[in-house]
Amino acid sequence: MKSRTTKLAAAVTLLAANAQVSAVGIPTEKPQTMEDMWKIIQAQQQQIDSMTKKLETVAEKKVAGDVSQIERKTDVLTEEVEKLRTQLVVPEKTEYKSAYGLGPAASKVYQVGKGLSIGGYGEANYQARVDDQGGRDADGNLVNPDNADFERLVIYAGYKFTDNILFNSEIEFEHSSTGKGGEVSVEFAALDFFINDMANVRAGMVLMPMGFINQIHEPPFFFGNNRPEVERRIIPSTWREIGAGLFGELAPGLTYTTYVVNGMNADNFSSSGIRSGRQSGAQAKAEDLAYVGRLDYAPDYLPGVTIGGSAYIGNSGQNKLFNGHKLEVTTQLYEAHLQWKYRGLEFRTLGSFGRIGDAAALSAANKTTIGSENYGWYSELGYDILPHIFPDSTQYLAPFFRYEKMDTLASVPVGFVDDLSKDLEIFQIGLNYKPIPNVVIKADYRNFNQKAGKAPDDFNLGVGFIF
């Protein structure tokens, strides 16, 4: 509207000017005839047409100039916005990159605060014991009370020194307070050196690459409030040791990880298996070393399927004399796993088998029956039902079922008594609900069946998150 008013005013001004200017070329005396009058009118009309044309051209030029100027400025601004957006994550030009990770590209990327990385996860739950709370102890307390626990709060910190050298770590606060039986531990802390796709190096406190849970145990990514017992009692998650090794992709879909680590400490082996023999990088004895390796295959022709296995072998005697004898205590653990994700369905199965050498002598020295063999397996199936109820929903609601079977004393040395309470099967049903992918609310029920003794069943309700 303002533009039109401006044009009109300009036109009136010009017409007025035109009237004055026209007097220059037109006789000033009074016309004597109609013909004279007609000539004057024609001359005036020509001048008006000419001036109007000039006026229109000037006005058009001015408007066109304004619009193109605005468009140009908008383009410049949007380009600058896009540049700012993308510059935070990718460099603009190739020449800013460094072939060896220490040059200007790295500086450019990391100057904007991308070097330091903070994350974390946590899980808290309420557990109601059902069926049998195990009576009371001498102080009158229930042996297996209902309980509420902030089980884990884990802070992840990483630093990317260059494109090729990274540090990753997780510091875990378990059971919320060291004053109440909880603990603070470094869950892992390792340097990664990226060399090529097939062979990269990792060194430091490493997570043993066995099973599903030991490496990926953030609460949104497993069913139920508690990790599968097979991946606690047979594969002693979270299992970490000091070591170094290689990881990479040998062929499309075929990945591996292998480390040399300090061995376990057989001094702490028990009828519950090797779990207490983990050294967790706490001034670990390294008289004996161990080797662990893992291979996974995710075939292109079967999207969503991963199949793999891992093996651990190493002596755990740590050059100690057990009842005056040096024992090797060769410890072996093997595991195979399969995972299948298909249209909201998630299936996992895992089997593990272990052997402990010198079990008889070790049992005598540790004054407990230590199994020469142990095993465990489980299968679980979950299905995201929410798309069938609310097709447009991006949330997740999956009921699941899990069956587990394990025995840490699958085979006991001659002369030692089997503890049948270690022969255990668990039936579990539950629900995982994720309002967003990073947050999970879980409810589940576990039914424990031992060959001897009676463990309580439990109902668990909890929350978990990752950020």
Binding site: V90, K160, F194, I195, V260, E328, G344, G357
Partner: protein, 183 residues
């Protein structure tokens, strides 16, 4: 079983041998390289900025099932001899707390033609393998979902979900803002 202590020394020497191999892994692509990946060496690239109206924003969000964080969207338009050969977008999103940056390329009709990771600032074990992105190609927008044609990958749940969201968003922006109505 006796496990000889010299074995780890040999293993460490093996590591050292790999260490000394020339050639570091390429983690990042620059934007310049990204455009070459998308359109080749001989194409010209122009930027096209889109400013969706409130109605268009709502329609994009409905189709993509994601919340738009900006009212400005930029496509890089690849051209050869003045003919459009494709549309590329550089999309960044946080996986946990750090960004994953993808190059998402559409053909002139808005079909998903290529998805490449340009940068990944989370630990690399969370990074989906490049071949996983091949699953996304040649699918309709509504089929880009874990409940439908796309299968997840273990260890990269958050990053693959975020990548799916980005692909849907770029396709939805094209459909709402650029797609010519079919005759």
């Amino acid at each position: 079983m006796q496990i000889h202590k010299s074995v780890p020394v040999v293993f460490l020497l093996f590591l050292l041998a790999f260490w000394m191999l020339p050639g570091w892994a390429k983690v990042f692509y620059s934007k310049e390289e990204a455009m070459t990946l998308a359109f080749g060496d001989d194409a010209t690239v122009e930027m096209q900025s889109l400013f969706p109206s409130a109605e268009q924003m709502a329609e994009i969000e409905r189709l993509a099932k994601v919340k738009l964080e900006s009212k400005l969207f930029s496509f890089y338009v690849g051209k050869k001899q003045d003919a459009v050969i494709g549309y590329a977008a550089i999309e960044s999103h946080n996986v946990r707390t750090k960004p994953e940056t993808l190059l998402i390329v559409l053909d002139p009709n808005g079909n998903l033609r290529q998805v490449v990771t340009l940068a990944f600032h989370e630990p690399p074990e969370y990074q989906p393998p490049e071949r996983w992105f091949a699953q996304l190609l040649n699918h309709q927008l509504e089929d880009l979902s874990f409940g439908k044609d796309i299968q997840g990958v273990s260890g990269a749940t958050l990053s693959t979900r975020a990548a799916l969201n980005s692909a849907r968003k770029v396709m939805a922006v094209f459909q709402v803002m650029l797609k010519q109505p079919e005759n």
